[in-house]
């Protein structure tokens, strides 16, 4: 008798991020295989880009993702600058790094909250998102918008960070540091979280290399890769900071890497702001003409390396734009991490690579044996929460 069950997760998500579609093959409680389908949120951006000018293209790629909404513009500008062969002014370098790092903080916090939500720790969700709000306020003060900052332009940045804004950002950073420290301590000390996340969904170093994982997913498996250090752009070569690495490769390690990275980001922002006080001058170099040719640009987005390729024929519009987002390479690692784990853990393991996940609401289970068996996203979340509750009970702790 065939006792296998297929659980499709997806395709599109009601909660957050891009739609994706997972198919879990389960036997009893255990996941034995997983398959990923993508393309549900295909908006034909690369094609639309061909109808935009180089300046307009930046705003278009900004709208690829609402969470890394400055990563794509930075990578895109890097690509165009590579094509033209210009250097951006020093002041613009610092501003780029500041915006990029602020975004990393808000993105990591957003993820930590959602991870909490997935395992039934809604307190963590609300808590962390509350601390994320001040970061968005800084964004609003500095760039004029909470998301989609529209700061980048080929050759530099569009808006200067004014002298009077610097103390505002600095104060915000002090506050954020205190709060993130509190959250980090709470997360690290929590026995339930440790029981729930440690040793779950381990991605070994070899697998991470074989699947070409990038960003925090790779760094939590002990691979020190980071575009900011490997190929410095913007101001990353001019300031001191460290790469956070963990060896364990489990979900807990990914949480730790992300939370600790926030502190490095704060460090970078502080140094950049200090330099902004002394480094004066232009914020954008004039890009007069875009010659025919090709250019590539990379940026370390919160989720990993973003890669942009731009081809020009000498007109004011690109002939081709190619984008490779980090989730695209991180997603297949679930083939190595999910099989062998229980269904209740699948949600958090998939969420751990910080993909465009959250599609759990539309899960339907089909039992191959009976032909039908419904288990939807709510059920998966429920299973996940139940497990946390059970652990809490065993420890004699009340769940939050």
């Amino acid at each position: 008798m065939n006792r296998k069950t297929i659980i499709p997760i997806g395709p599109y998500h009601p909660l957050l991020e891009e739609p994706e579609f997972f198919e879990l093959e389960v036997e009893g409680e255990k996941v034995i295989d997983i398959d990923v389908h993508i393309g549900y949120n295909h908006r034909s951006i690369e094609k639309i880009a061909e109808s935009k000018t180089f300046d307009q293209m930046v705003f278009l790629v900004e709208r690829i993702c609402g969470i890394c909404s400055t990563s794509h513009p930075i990578a895109n500008c890097n690509a165009v600058e590579d094509l033209v062969g210009i250097e951006i002014p020093e002041r613009a370098r610092y501003i780029r790094s500041i915006v990029g790092e602020l975004e990393r903080i808000h993105s990591h916090l957003l993820w930590a909250g959602l991870a909490g939500h997935f395992i039934g720790y809604n307190t963590l969700w609300m808590w962390v998102w509350k601390y994320r709000e001040p970061i968005l306020e800084i964004f609003e003060a500095v760039t004029g918008n909470r998301n989609h900052y529209a700061m980048m332009i080929p050759g530099g940045v569009r808006r200067d960070i004014k002298e009077e804004d610097i103390p505002v950002v600095l104060k915000g950073m002090d506050e954020a540091e205190r709060k993130i420290e509190m959250v980090t301590k709470a997360v690290l000390d929590d026995p339930v979280l440790a029981a729930r996340l440690k040793g779950v969904g381990v991605l070994s170093r070899e697998d991470a290399i074989n699947y070409c994982a990038v960003g925090p997913t790779a760094r939590a498996s002990g691979i020190p890769i980071d575009v900011r250090r490997d190929e410095p752009y913007a101001a990353y070569g001019l300031v001191n900071w460290e790469i956070i690495i963990r060896e364990e490769g489990d979900v807990f390690a990914k949480v730790v890497v992300r939370l600790l990275e926030c502190f490095e980001s704060i460090k970078i922002i502080r140094q950049c702001l200090k330099r902004l006080r002394t480094v004066k001058g232009e914020i954008a170099a004039k890009v007069k003409e875009i010659p025919p040719g090709e250019g590539i640009g990379r940026h370390e987005a919160p989720r990993g390396e973003v890669f942009h390729y731009v081809k020009s024929d000498g007109s004011n519009r690109p002939v081709r734009l190619k984008v490779r987002a980090p989730t695209y390479v991180n997603l297949p690692t679930c083939k190595a991490t999910v099989p062998g784990e229980s269904i209740a853990d699948a949600a958090i393991i998939l969420a751990a690579i910080d993909p465009c996940y959250c599609c759990t609401e539309r899960i339907v289970t089909i039992n191959k044996r009976t032909g039908k068996r419904e288990l939807n996203g709510q059920d998966l979340l429920r299973l996940s929460r139940k497990k946390t509750e059970k652990i809490c009970k065993n420890m004699g702790k009340r769940n939050v």
């Binding site: 395709p11 599109y12 998500h13 009601p14 909660l15 957050l16 991020e17 891009e18 739609p19 393309g39 549900y40 949120n41 295909h42 908006r43 034909s44 951006i45 094609k47 639309i48 109808s51 705003f59 278009l60 709208r63 690829i64 993702c65 609402g66 969470i67 909404s69 957003l110 969700w125 609300m126 998102w129 509350k130 709000e133 909470r146 998301n147 989609h148 465009c356 609401e361 996203g377 709510q378």
Partner: protein, 136 residues
């Protein structure tokens, strides 16, 4: 006074997204978190459209999503209120001319209200929902 008055006290919203950049979606979630805290007005985000009074729709509909959007709308109990959140949902936004885009929403399903912005601020979203409630 019409029969929609029952909705005025506590409306439940369901969130549909298709072909958005998910920033609008995050702002909708943001409305629920402590700073804005929609729940104090009795507005609750629910997991199934069968429980919902209002659909908050984001994104410019993609070809693959089209049948799903139609189905979601059919499953919704009457009266069916739809609020388009964000430039994409109102007009197709920056993705309007894409080959995979069939939206915006009002081409597919009746839309009650539009909240423009890219993304609209949480205040704007709350304001939009409140205006819809008041107009009932």
């Amino acid at each position: 006074m019409n029969k929609l008055w029952a909705l005025k006290k506590s409306i439940w919203v369901y969130h549909v997204c298709s072909g958005s950049c998910n920033n609008c979606d995050i702002e909708i979630l943001d409305c629920l978190t402590p700073k804005f805290d929609l729940e104090r007005f009795g507005i609750l985000l629910v997991g199934s459209v069968r429980h919902a009074d209002v659909i908050l729709a984001t994104g410019s509909i993609t070809r693959k999503a089209l049948p799903r959007i139609k189905r979601v709308y059919e499953q919704m109990p009457k009266p069916k209120l739809v609020i388009a959140v964000g430039g994409c949902a109102c007009s197709g936004g920056i993705f309007k001319n894409g080959y995979n885009i069939v939206g915006p929403y009002d081409k597919i399903i009746p839309v009650t209200a539009y909240i423009p912005g890219c993304p609209p601020k949480p205040e704007a979203i709350i304001d939009g929902v409140v205006k819809v409630i008041n107009s009932l």
